[in-house]
């Protein structure tokens, strides 16, 4: 079974790459593959010119030190049986092997950096608000100064005002710590706000990718267009409701033949039903997978 198929992208240092798509399109799976939480059966994950696709956990320690993540559900990503202090300190103790006093000062430093009061260090994660919890998760992720941070819908579980605070904090941190981000989101406006480059995913495949400006200003793929227009028109409504209704809900595990989007595509032709379109370039580093542009 393939949940994700033919997804390929590169992230440059200091850049933010966003993967955009509706829920269930496999973008989280991509993230989890990069984090080696799921096994990769084909394809490669290369970090700093090192292929880490098939390395065992013991060979990955350096990688863990340099690649960290922030998850969608802030409370759920914190162990309810640990104090906030220990949660933030854990990667420090594990990777840096620094003395206790230094851990203490680093944790305090980090707490300040992510804008949390020191009083929360003794609390349990359950007593935090969603925004606070996400800040704790961010503090944990940046504690060992990684190079790459993977953000899995970092704001989708938060209320609107907190969302902005967190996004700003992330942008802030990127500058301060010279980080690179891979951002996964279903919310194109978040991507617009954050990303340097954008990849649009549909049912486990990238259908369009380019710099953020290009994708947002001149979208080529019908799905991207739909995505952007619905985001503009109906800020609050979910994306799914604006799409053409179909019988079977689309599934990344068992995608339709031909172009995956054809059942919902207003421009679909006979060819789209039979053959899968390749990802082709239209110049200017702009790639799209649609028979309209071949």
């Amino acid at each position: 079974m393939k949940a994700v198929d033919g997804v390929s992208f590169t992230v440059e240092r200091g850049q933010i790459h966003a993967l955009v798509g509706e829920s269930g399109c496999g973008k989280s799976t991509v993230l989890r593959a990069i984090l080696r939480l799921v096994d990769v059966y084909s394809g490669r994950i290369v970090f700093d010119n090192v292929d880490i696709t098939n390395r065992g956990e013991s060979d990955l320690k350096w990688y863990r030190r340099r690649v960290q993540a922030v998850f969608q559900n802030p409370q759920g990503s914190l162990n309810p049986r640990m104090r906030v202090f220990d949660i933030i300190a854990e990667p420090l103790r594990l990777h840096l092997k620094i003395p206790r006093e230094e851990v203490l000062s680093r944790v305090h430093e980090l707490t300040k950096l992510v804008g949390l009061p020191e009083s929360i260090l003794d609390q349990s994660p359950q007593s935090l608000s969603g925004g606070q919890a996400q800040r704790v998760a961010i503090a944990r992720a940046i504690s060992i100064k990684p190079d790459l941070l993977l953000l899995d819908e970092p704001t989708s579980a938060l209320d609107v005002s907190t969302q902005a605070q967190i996004l700003n904090l992330l942008l802030d941190l990127k500058e301060k710590l010279n980080l690179s981000y891979v951002l996964v989101t279903h919310d194109i406006s978040v991507a617009r706000y954050m990303a340097d480059t954008i990849g649009v995913m549909y049912l486990g495949k990238i259908v369009e990718k380019s710099s953020a400006d290009t994708v947002l200003s001149e979208p080529l793929h019908p799905y991207t267009k739909l995505l952007i227009s619905s985001a503009l028109l109906l800020e609050e409504k979910s994306l799914e409701s604006t799409l053409k209704p179909i019988g079977e809900p689309p599934s990344a595990i068992n995608p339709p033949p031909g172009c995956r989007f054809h059942p919902r595509c207003p421009y679909a032709t006979e060819k789209c039903k039979r053959e899968e379109p390749p990802l082709v370039t239209t110049g200017k580093e702009h790639f799209v997978a649609c028979w309209l542009y071949v």
């Binding site: 990503s77 162990n79 990777h95």
Partner: protein, 289 residues
């Protein structure tokens, strides 16, 4: 009482039946713990003397539970018996909990080959009706408090292993476990610091409620003659000892059984109370009425 949330008591007070269960359990625990110090006739309880002239005295003010075939005061023997019931129940549940939790944890988290083997093993033990496996083991292990505990624990742990397995499976996909992997923690650390503390609650709760059954099964073993040896006044043994005299001295079997019944009812009532307290759906129904 830091372990028990305060509103549990509020919850209890409104339900006299559950309160009764709670009181029985507390009383049993206290009496069982201090039994040797509150005996009025310790030599009768421990069985170090006997007086045939006092044999088979029916219940009276002096002997509220009567006397047995050796002229020993049954009340004192029943009180001392609570100690053994308590010790056995605590050890059986504790021991099974340790084994069950380890097996369930390892099987649940490591999955794969080891996990399958462990769970199949658990299934094999579960294929025996409760008590029967304990009977089989007790019959070959020999009779004694320790062997009774071992025999019961052998038949008991698989239930906790199963429960722990289910619990671990629900915890292991939690996001904080993935987060821990991303941090780069070792499997063992994740198991010990993340999975174990978060999956323990249902198993531990269940085990506390199983004390009543443990007491009952220990007595059954003793009744069948494969439990604790004389002169220990374990309740099941007292009942079986009185069995042959039942037509002429009913009290030798009656009172230990009654006390056993009350204790088990107490534990079961408390169990129901905890279940109802922890099941918000049931509680909301109650609240609506």
């Amino acid at each position: 009482m830091g372990l028990i949330p305060r509103d549990f008591f509020k919850f209890l007070v409104k339900r006299p039946l559950y309160t009764a269960g709670f009181i029985i359990v507390i009383a049993f625990t206290i009496i069982g713990s201090i039994a040797p110090y509150i005996l009025t006739k310790p030599e009768d309880a421990w069985g170090v003397t006997y007086d045939l002239n006092k044999a088979f005295q029916p219940p009276s003010l002096e002997y509220p539970f009567g006397t047995d075939a050796y002229g020993r005061d049954m009340l004192n023997r029943v009180i001392l018996g609570s100690r053994y019931s308590l010790i056995i129940a605590v050890c059986v549940v504790g021991l099974s909990l340790i084994i069950g939790v380890i097996v369930g944890l390892v099987a649940g988290y490591l999955a794969g080959f080891i996990g399958t083997i462990l769970m199949r093993l658990t299934d094999m033990f579960l294929a025996y009706p409760p008590l029967l496996l304990a009977v089989a083991f007790a019959s070959v292990l020999g009779r004694g408090v320790l062997t009774t505990i071992m025999a019961l624990a052998i038949s008991w742990w698989p239930w906790y292993a199963r429960l722990m397995y289910v619990s671990v499976n629900s915890v292991k996909s939690a996001q904080y476990v993935e987060a821990a992997k991303v941090v780069g923690l070792s499997k063992f650390t994740i198991m010990a610091k993340y999975i174990l503390p978060n999956s323990l609650i249902p198993v531990v709760t269940q085990s506390m409620l199983d004390m009543g059954s443990a007491i009952l099964e220990a007595s059954a073993l003793s009744f069948l003659g494969v439990g604790v040896p004389p002169p220990i006044p374990e309740w099941g043994r007292l009942i079986s000892e009185g069995w042959v005299y039942v037509s002429k001295a009913y009290w030798i079997t009656f009172f230990p059984g009654l006390v056993l019944l009350v204790t088990v009812v107490g534990f079961n009532l408390l169990g129901d109370a905890v279940k109802e307290y922890m099941n918000p759906r049931l509680r909301s129904i109650v609240a609506k009425r």
